[in-house]
Amino acid sequence: MHFTINGTKYDADPDIRTSLLDLLREHLGLTGSKKGCDHGQCGACTVLVNGRRINSCLTLAVMHQDDEITTIEGIGTPDNLAPLQSAFVRHDGFQCGYCTPGQICSATGMLDEAKKGWPSHVSESLDGDIALSDEEIRERMSGNLCRCSAYPNIVDAIREIAGEDA
């Protein structure tokens, strides 16, 4: 099977049952995406598929041969961090770091959703521009669990970047 991940082409021979997450972690050495539950309950495995965030544990690798997949490794590297990644470091938006790639991929997708005007459960109206209040950020990020509970700092990091984009 063929995959395009972070702009790079990969050939792999996963099992037909292999999740996209396990393809990344076990077959391609892209271990930045994390497995916290394997059941779509924690968000640690969040990646971007054609720009949209998804739980990569909930989808089979075989279904994504024609997709553009972006993982944390494609968002920035230690020497060349994306602004959101730097903001996470500055605001201490993590402790153990295990949920972090998922939080960052999720926030990347979320910022784009907000920019497109997609409403959330706490949005005032169903159309119009979305102002990313703390309440909006918290609501939209609630699929990404952090047991270390870096939540307040994650919100600070995202708010800073959302403000810059606005």
């Binding site: 099992d15 049952r17 050495g29 271990t31 994390k34 059941h39 920035g76 470091v89 790639p101 047991r147």
Partner: protein
Amino acid sequence: MSDKHTLTMDKPVEKSLLDSGAQGLVGEALDRVEGPKKVSGKATYSAEYPIENIAYGFLVRAPFAVGRITEIDMDAAKAAPGVVDVVTDFDRFIRNSAQGAVKEAPVQGVRDVVYFGEPVAIVVAERYEQARDAASLVRIVYDEGKGSFDFEAGISHADIPPDGAAPATFEQGNIDKAMATAGVTIDGDWTTPSQNSAAMEPHASIAMWDDDGLTLYGAYQMPSFDRPSLADALGLKPEKVRIIAPYIGGGFGGKLGIAPESVAAAIASKTTGRPVKAVMTRQQVFDATVRRSNTKQRIRLAADRNGRLTGIGHESHTSNLPDEVFFEPAGIATHFLYGGENRKITHDIVRLNRMLAGSMRAPGEAVGLLALECAMDELAEKLGMDPVELRKVNDCEQDPEKDIPYSTRSFTECLDEGAKRFGWEKRNTTPGKLREGEWLIGHGMASAARGNMLQPSEARVVLNPDGSAVVETDMTDIGTGTYTILSQIAGELLGLPIDRVEVRLGDNAFPPGSGSGGSFGAGSSGSSVYLACESIREKLAKAMGVSPDDLTLKDGEAIAANRHVALRDIIDGAIEATGRIEPGEQGEKVKQAGHGAHFCAVRVNAVTGEVRIDRWTAVFAAGRILNLKTATSQCYGGIVFGIGAALTEELVHDPHNGKIVNRDLAEYHLPVHADVPHLDVTFLPERDTHANPLHAKGIGELGIAGAGAAVANAIANATGARVRDYPITLDKLLGSLPPV
């Protein structure tokens, strides 16, 4: 040659070198040094090492709670595609995970099953999916036995365990008499459920053997203990085992001791001749690692009309497996938090066939204060007294049980500062009466206290002539900030910018550290680095011909006697030293603890009973704060654990077999982003000369202590309803809400 510079804490260290460091690192709010790796997916956790020829292991578990296995039929599994082998070892597989800080093997032998889901075999296959599928084909034949599953029924024949982190039983004066003669009393039962640490990274081991023995990449908090424990389980000498754990995806107690996947992977690797990776599924973590015990706690408070306590009773029942001595020390903070001459604090264990109970973040305080601090709130209400004032009236000059002083105690200061920051004087004082639309508003507070500990810990520090340094210890960073604070301490004492210090952790190839647990990691491992650096400073001073007190080190230069000299001009080669800290008499001569206070505002929906937390202020005093940023994050973590305990977290055991019914993250509800408001955390300046040469105390668990009680008290203030059975879910509130 490396010298070992050892310090046993038999007396206070009056002067800390950290106060005279010139580099300006310690105490600052510095970014985590390993941060760039963590935010870019480049920090390698235990399941993530690329290993040639690796095979995947999947645990097979007993589908019953109690009994004896007569046969494991592996034929179908062995014939399944890709299966390399199905491995079991009835003698050596571990039945229970190990408790924390234990060097011996935990209970072994899995022919006998004592809890539902006990791991009894492991399927090894070429691929993960193959192993997982084949595991479902293993058939276990067994004679089912009779187990104990009813906690309430077991209370009448609970047993008194040996002393643990707290004495099992303690009595002073006569609590019954105090209750009979007191002006005001409280007497009630509080219950808390089983909980799971639920670190985001599941337990995982990669095991591989060579001529030197076993190498295990494992997500373990205490490698210096887990190594001998694992070796003992396998019948090896500790030197034949090497655990590597540079990054750990959270622990919170759940990864203190070795868990079943480690021994299973090691044995499977030996049997198959392949490196074996065994990652527990989330359900397996819930079913077969370790839980915090449920508790039933009777609190009795006797006070005079001014609120001064004359007696405290805190009698707890907790649960554990028959073979285990650990008890949840729910009364641990009750021993020293408040005065009162008449005291009774006990812990009995109800023997149940439920998965192992062990340490989870702040064992004892985390659930004990859920009871004590709510009882205090009820007492304040009965007395018509400000709950803050009640705490202050019962602050003590010295330990109320032993004739020893506190090392430091800024308890009243925390209460005052917290009240001020929160605006406590503007709180709602009439329960159930402050309303905004369909929301009832309430304010609550609770005290925080957590004993401070020191553990033996060793670190090696190498200073190079080019002005760089390397720190090595098998201490871990489980998100606590160890990499960063050890870099800060070494940089401060050796006069190096933080990026010139490399800290290597979590590998038994390095000197044995304390490990992460009990909030002793920073103080213990930090002290070992301090001592190694102190010894290097002495050598540099000697080379400069000055006394160490007259030496200043900054930015890679030594400054003394009006001379500035680059390190490379003082030393030709690397200087190496090992530091070792040992707990000593200071642990007994003074009572060491961190203190604090929580204040929170909640909204309770008058129609649905939904609880939202709007605002939080916490003030803590725990000696020197080594890094303001990581310390604050630790407290956030504790507070949010407290929010979970108050509102949502509960492992539900099937009454028929003890099985955990809600064994995943969809059903065991951790707080999420939307549950957590901005948290206002402040530290009061403090130095504890009794604790260690850093003058710092632990903070990883202080934040959880009392946090959930503040929520419960705020709910009571909002609604007028006192729910004594945690978590406070809507169903428990609905019946007692004021009319809409």
